[in-house]
Subunit: 154 residues, 2 copies
């Protein structure tokens, strides 16, 4: 694994993580109805920090291996979609549109897990927490959107 | 060049482009002082569409060539930073923070041009309009920030 590559993938991840600091949930989100499976607040930064770190390590592991082009293209797509989700949901409060972004992100990450696994199964394994957390995040986005029909922007 | 790869890089670019539709300049930005070199409004979507298209083609060209790992890592970092800039400036109205994002984006794209050029000079050439436009965008971000000291969020 190359340290330079890891640091560049971490710069990309830092851009995605910054959206969580710039666009905070705040009183608008606190006042919304949420499903019973909503994780506690502290779990979100812990989960995302872990995911960003593991996915940057996975990308740095496969980046110099032959045939990594498709895996890295999917990595680029996921980090752009990930950076888009938070401003769409918490900034613009477009919950339906955020659900669409989340759906595309889920498909891209699922494809990414397969591609990484085929090149280096350990790197594929490192991406599984990401896919698992996206299932929770997608269910949460869906329920908050459907259970608060008048709360978002249109 | 692989069509699949091109389409995945275009999904990433579409995420960045979507920020320009979700976070429009609007009356807040229209009311700010702007420098004389500000391009006309129609130039922005034209420039960005061209840049996203050319950079997706460039990435799809180099992705399957040997030694593309660093080039693709930089491509991933630029698309995440690009997706972050618009919500930071037009959504959160954090003009100083957006200037910081722009500075990191400029350095990443400059490094990306060099890396792409070394692998395939035609692909490097396709990225030059991106770097040129970022010079204009950075100068504009700087002047709008400095010339409107009380307009942004802090």
């Amino acid at each position: 694994m190359s340290l330079n590559l890891f640091l560049i993938f971490m710069i990309a991840s830092a851009a995605a993580a910054a959206t969580g600091i710039i666009f905070r949930p705040g009183s608008w989100y606190d006042g919304l109805r949420k499903p019973s499976f909503t994780p506690p607040k502290w779990a979100f930064p812990v989960a995302w920090s872990t995911i960003y770190l593991l996915s940057a390590i996975a990308a740095a592991r496969v980046a110099l291996l032959p045939g990594a082009g498709l895996a890295l293209a999917l990595w680029a797509a996921q980090i752009a979609l990930n950076t888009l989700w938070t401003p769409t949901f918490f900034g613009a409060r477009r919950m339906a549109l955020a659900m669409g972004v989340m759906a595309v992100l889920w498909v891209v990450v699922a494809g990414m897990v397969v591609q990484f696994w085929m090149i280096d199964w350990r790197s594929g394994l490192m991406l599984l927490p990401y896919l698992a957390w996206l299932c929770v995040a997608a269910a949460l986005n869906w329920r908050v959107w459907r259970d608060n029909p008048n709360a978002g922007a249109h």
